[in-house]
Amino acid sequence: MAEKLLEVSGLKKYYPIKKNLLGKPGGYVQAVNGVDFSIRTGETLGLVGESGCGKSTVGKCIIGLENVTEGSVALDGVVLSGMPERQRRKRRRDIQMVFQNPYASLNQRRTIQQIIDEPMQVNLDLSRQERLERTRELLRMVGLREEYCSRYPHEFSGGQRQRIAIARALAVDPRLVIADEAVSALDVSIQSQVINLFKELQEKLGLTYLFISHNLCVVKYISDRIGVMYLGEMVEMAETEELFQHPCHPYTRSLLSAIPLPDVTEQEEARRENRIILQGDVPSPANPPEGCRFHTRCPLATERCAQEKPCRTEVAPGHTVTCHLCGKGGGI
């Protein structure tokens, strides 16, 4: 088993809601509430969950765009969270991010050359000529032509822009690349191209990914392991195969049953047989339910779920679940 590259432990991110006259917040949005996981060098960890479950916030905390409320983020054993900005800046190149919207993540007024060059200029000790060559090499690597250097982002399609954004992220040789919904804004046909590009680059450069998405199929295709988040907590985490074969948490099961099948008749059948439809809405993260956070919508909830917070248990090697019903001997 490869070494752990990233270690996230007890990560919490609370946003103050509204400050009263004395500057004290009236409450907190518990966007992320105690998440632990680690990523090994060279693997892809997928993070899934519905909108507002805190998966993007986890990404932002790891990369340092948000300050961590509690817990720690460590890369290679060095704790990054809470590090003074001056020191942190030197380590920024280790983690890079590909953003969701390729139309917003590239500055419209800069050329492709300038866009890809900037991270190198800040972080690498290269001459202008060397950087230019590297920019060209990166463009080739992401499947674009070298001549695009002098063009502006608005001359490209969404998929091409996302390739440029990937080139920018790779420019500084990052250890970890966070893809925050990196393909959700693209057309389906382009999505597969970009995902394949991610895979290719991983093989070629030995990259490590944290792949954040709400699309289970995408995550299944690219990830080695998958973490499922619900309302700021990690409810289940396992190897991709294991998770799809033996989902334990009721939330994971309902998510998996919601994946549409390409064949209509199969789809109908699957719907009738084992579609689990959740009732109600996601509770507000500002006022999360007591006990298990999922109990308000869980079809299997018992009284215990409403009172007692479940602990994380390992149901199989590398497969952890946070649910009262799936602990040792529980087995649903």
């Binding site: 920024r92 190149r93 991010m97 953003f99 500055n107 419209q108 007024r109 900037e118 991270p119 800040v122």
Partner: protein, 275 residues
């Protein structure tokens, strides 16, 4: 991008007309020494308050000075004050606005100062400045600029606040670009069109403000001509000799209208969303 904006301007007839009007106004005021048929302080008391005629196309004022010549001379002061005040407010307001938008701590201080400024009438500020520092052209420019600075700060700040959340700024932060470079390289070019548009609007109101100051006797001193003071003198004769007030008023109207309309056209031309 820039040439595209230029094309949009050229295709817009209103903008072209405004540019022509402005050019004519500016050129004729700059060359007032050559173009004006009479001096700005050339008095012909026997010709006082004569209506428009072949000799004095806009008539004469109460001292027999040629109003057309005085409009040309006065235009120079008015336009210089307008431009200088706008440049000053863009420089000061733009900088402070960007700081306030990007840095939380600076925001606290700058925005409270703006609140103070907004709470006190600008005229009062202008009176204090001119009264304590003297009524040189520069001080008049400062007091006129003070009217525009808070607006500039607020608008720029809100633009920066929204830009700060955009993904390309977040991306720049993830690779450790220093914040001053983020401000200058990524944010400024994307808000500059808002600043230009606001500046053109404030240009018109700055000329009006300088007229107000002259009207109150705080701006340009006689016998120097200035549109504001000409209008203020003319109001005494509005019932009997309309031309004394109407022509400088018209000049002011045309200038402000042209600049405002040009500002609108610029906003459309620089906005990539407007085709």
């Amino acid at each position: 991008m820039q040439s595209k904006a230029l094309k949009k301007i050229i295709r817009n007839p209103t903008a072209v007309i405004c540019i022509v009007i402005l050019a004519v106004l500016i050129v004729s005021c700059v060359f007032s020494d050559v173009l004006a048929p009479y001096g700005f302080d050339e008095q012909q008391l026997h010709n006082a308050r004569q209506g428009p005629s072949a000799e004095h196309i806009f008539g004469t004022d109460e001292y027999g000075r040629d109003i057309f010549s005085r409009i040309l001379y006065g235009g120079k002061t008015s336009i210089v004050i307008g431009f200088a005040a706008v440049l000053l407010s863009v420089a000061v307001g733009g900088t402070l606005g960007m700081l306030a938008g990007y840095y939380k701590k600076a925001e606290m201080i700058i925005m409270r100062l703006v609140d103070i400024q907004v709470a006190i009438p600008g005229i009062l500020f202008a009176i204090v400045i001119v009264a304590t520092l003297g009524d040189s052209l520069f001080n008049v420019v400062i007091s006129v600029a003070i009217f525009s600075i808070p607006t500039m700060i607020r608008v720029v700040r809100s633009e920066v606040l929204s830009m700060k959340q955009s993904e390309f700024v977040l991306a720049a932060r993830t690779y450790g670009l220093p914040s001053w470079r983020i401000l200058l390289v990524h944010i400024l070019p994307n808000i500059v069109h808002t600043m230009i548009v606001l500046a053109t609007m404030r240009f018109a109101s700055s000329v009006l403000t300088s007229a107000t100051l002259s009207f109150l006797g705080l701006g340009v001193k006689p016998p120097m001509a200035d549109w504001g003071s000409m209008i203020s003198n003319g109001r005494m004769f509005i019932r009997t000799d309309w031309w004394v007030i109407v022509f400088p008023g018209l000049a002011l109207l045309i200038l402000t209208l042209a600049v405002n309309l040009l500002g609108d056209a610029l906003r459309d031309a620089l906005d990539p969303k407007v085709q």
